[in-house]
């Protein structure tokens, strides 16, 4: 059976149900690289340019892991745009497959399947037909597989919205569980949050906040401090798209729209006490978006704001200290508000 390797990095955290289902439906075996660890980071850093962002470096590490596992194909799509109107993803996502090929040429990488996804000019099916053609799968089967895959992806999106905590999302991401039947969705425990737990919103790229190595298990750490964490992925798409324009009017980056929308929504939400924006050093969009969120957060004096920028040199102790100080500050504010 043909094996397809998918690196567990970057857009994997957004589209893995789609990708995995698609390849399994057309009769391939999917191999996912292992969870990020020190070795993957080291491999990535050694084989990538020093000036790119940490997720890209980790991505290279994951690809090396897959090459070592000996897969037949690597799946690295060129995601130029994922919306129906003119918009873009990050430039680095468009170039990744070329960059991976040329920076790992010495390792003899297998054939890279890199369909071009630009949904505002070409329908999505074209990209997957390209993949089908490369693998020698007939058109009907590809179409059927894609339909099924989109359905599963839809279920995953639905699951994320209903998830009581980002933990559930993380668990799904790390165990590659492909069952997203509505029965599997845990009951939405909305009321439990109001039992005195402090609510903090965490926004950032999904491949930053859900990757245990990049985020240093930030979600776990916050939860163990008795904090309820909410992420941008737990909000409906329409809400995000309504909200981003209040911060920056003209935004062409889809994933940044989501981040801005989530940040703005949570800043307006009275139940949220603080907002954490997590990004990586040398992330291009973050340098703009971070500044815009900071400016917006200043308008909401009742909310605390923490911007965390990490890279491969960031020490865990330093991050921990900052988070603890942030939580203490919120708790003190809370105490002052209640008059004790």
């Amino acid at each position: 059976m043909t094996t397809i390797g998918i690196p567990r990095a970057l857009l994997y955290y957004k589209y893995y149900p789609l990708w995995i289902t698609f390849f399994e439906e057309i009769g391939c075996q999917v191999v996912i690289s292992r969870n990020s660890n020190k070795r993957i980071l080291d491999d990535g850093v050694r084989n990538t340019l020093d000036e790119v962002c940490l997720p890209c470096k980790i991505f290279t590490g994951h690809t090396i892991n897959l090459i070592e596992k000996g897969v037949d194909y690597l799946f690295i799509p060129r995601m130029k745009s994922v919306e129906t109107k003119k918009s873009f993803t990050c430039p680095r996502l468009v170039g990744t497959s070329d960059v991976i090929y040329y920076s790992l040429r010495a390792l003899n990488p297998p054939t890279i399947l890199s369909p071009y996804v630009e949904t505002y000019t070409h329908p999505l099916i074209e990209a997957y037909l390209e993949v089908g053609e490369a693998l020698g799968v007939e058109k009907d089967r590809v179409e059927k597989a894609l339909a099924k895959a989109l359905e599963v992806q839809e279920k995953f999106t639905h699951f994320k919205k209903k998830a009581p905590s980002p933990h559930q999302i993380m668990k799904k991401l790390s165990t590659v569980n492909r069952e997203f039947a509505p029965a599997n969705i845990p009951p939405h425990i909305e009321d439990e949050g109001s039992d005195g737990k402090i609510k903090i919103a965490l926004v950032g790229h999904s491949y930053v906040i859900y990757d245990p190595l990049i985020s240093m298990n930030l979600i776990d750490k916050l939860t163990s401090m008795g904090i309820e964490v909410l992420t941008g992925e737990m909000l409906p798409e329409e809400l995000l798209m309504q909200n981003y324009q209040e911060i920056l009017k003209q935004m062409h980056w889809t994933y940044e729209k989501e981040i801005l929308g989530a940040a703005n929504y949570y800043l307006k939400d009275d139940q949220i006490r603080g907002l954490i924006y997590m990004s990586t050093f040398a992330c291009g969009p973050a340098s703009l978006v971070g500044e815009a969120i900071l400016r917006q957060a200043r308008k909401h004096q009742d909310k605390s704001f923490l911007a965390l920028v990490v890279d491969e040199h960031t020490g865990e102790a330093g991050v921990m200290t900052r988070i603890e100080a942030f939580v203490d500050m919120i708790k003190r504010k809370e105490g002052a508000a209640h008059g004790n």
Binding site: E51, F88, G284
Partner: protein
């Protein structure tokens, strides 16, 4: 009422923009050439991790406010690169600092809107005639400035009296800047050609040929890249540099044929553009290698997204096409001495490489005999 209009620097593009603004009947206010003060003040108010041109633009704007401007013009892109968001964020920052101004953010999407706004501001009577004249001035002046810069690059390495070319170039650019009517512009162009012909040259030299490629702003803005063109020219190096305002205008109307050819060459390496001319960098590197250039200097602002993509691939292109590439990223912390050392070492390397090649060739020839 006098309307003072200002715009950020980009190399010698201020000449063309000054002409444009003046032709529209406004008073152009040119900020000082980017200097250490511009960089310092611009960096102070900009986001920490943003690319370098943004910070210099901010410095330029602050300087323009000191000179009493009311209207700012910012040209931005619409692609996936950060350049597309410059105007909006700059406006946000400047407004939060308490400045009162009007800003025109020009890109391919907003052009109709801009014309309407301009018409409101300048009055409807005879607007389109004025506008057409302004556009013609822009194209004409940028074309002449482009020509002068190219002649300077190609003459400097042959000049007998050191520094003469730079002097002539500055005189010519001044002539173009001062020209008001189209007849004067034509005269300035002819005079420039004559002046360059009069420079004493020694054509027997066989200079090292180097291409300067990369992100347009840092390549064009000589105060940021430590006047690399002059530096190389004075070292006796023939310089090729394809980008500039005129090329960019040609790109807007899709008439940039050489650049298109370069993109075709780059396709096998980088199939789809990620913005900011990354394919040009790769394409021109291949083209220069085929045309017998000795090396390429690749300049880009620190963490520039498209150019870092290009840079990773350039390593392979350099090996495949056997052409040395020097990558330099620039930001507000770049030091001149370090930059100079690297460039000088690179040129030394190219010279040695050429000598070795020639020795090898003569050896082979001797053996053949």
């Amino acid at each position: 009422m006098e309307i003072k209009v200002s715009f950020p620097h980009m190399g010698n593009s201020y000449i063309a923009f000054r002409g444009l603004v003046a032709a529209l009947g406004c008073t152009p206010v040119i900020p000082d050439r980017p200097n250490s003060k511009t960089v310092k003040e611009g960096s102070k108010v900009s986001p920490e991790a943003i690319c370098f041109p943004f910070k210099i633009n901010m410095g330029d704007f602050l300087n323009a406010f000191e000179k009493g401007t009311q209207v700012l013009v910012m040209v931005t892109g619409v692609g996936p690169c950060r350049f597309g968001y410059y105007g909006e964020l700059q406006e946000k920052i400047l407004r939060s600092m308490g400045y009162d101004f009007e800003i025109y953010i020009i890109n391919q999407n907003s052009i109709v809107d801009i014309i309407k706004r301009l018409r409101e501001m300048l009055g409807h009577k005879g607007f389109y005639r004025k506008f057409w004249r302004a556009l013609r001035t822009l194209v004409n002046k940028s074309k002449t400035a482009h020509m002068i810069e190219r002649m300077a690059r190609e003459t400097r390495c042959y000049e007998v009296n050191k520094g003469e070319t730079t002097k002539v170039m500055n005189q010519c650019l001044q002539l173009v800047d001062q020209a008001k009517t189209f007849r004067e512009m034509k005269r300035a162009r002819k005079k420039a050609i004559r002046m360059f012909r009069e420079i004493q040259v020694d054509k027997t030299r066989n200079p090292i040929k180097v291409a300067i490629l990369g992100e347009i702003y840092v390549v064009v803005e000589s105060s940021i890249n430590f006047s690399i063109e002059e530096l190389l020219g004075d070292m006796g190096v023939f310089v090729f540099q394809p980008s500039g305002l005129y090329e960019w205008l040609k790109h807007l109307v899709r008439l940039d044929f050489t650049a298109k050819k370069a993109v075709t060459l780059a396709k096998p390496y980088l199939k789809y553009t990620t913005g900011a001319k990354d394919q040009y960098t790769i394409g021109y590197t291949i083209k220069c290698s085929q045309e017998g250039y000795d090396g390429v200097i690749h300049l880009y602002p620190f963490t520039c997204m498209p150019q870092t993509m290009a840079r990773t691939i350039l390593d392979t292109v350099s090996r495949d096409y056997n052409i040395p590439v020097l990558n330099i990223s620039l930001d507000e912390h770049s030091g001149e001495a370090g930059f100079l050392t690297r460039v000088e070492a690179f040129i030394d390397l190219l010279e040695r490489r050429r000598v070795q090649r020639m020795q090898k060739a003569s050896l082979l020839e001797a053996r053949a005999i």
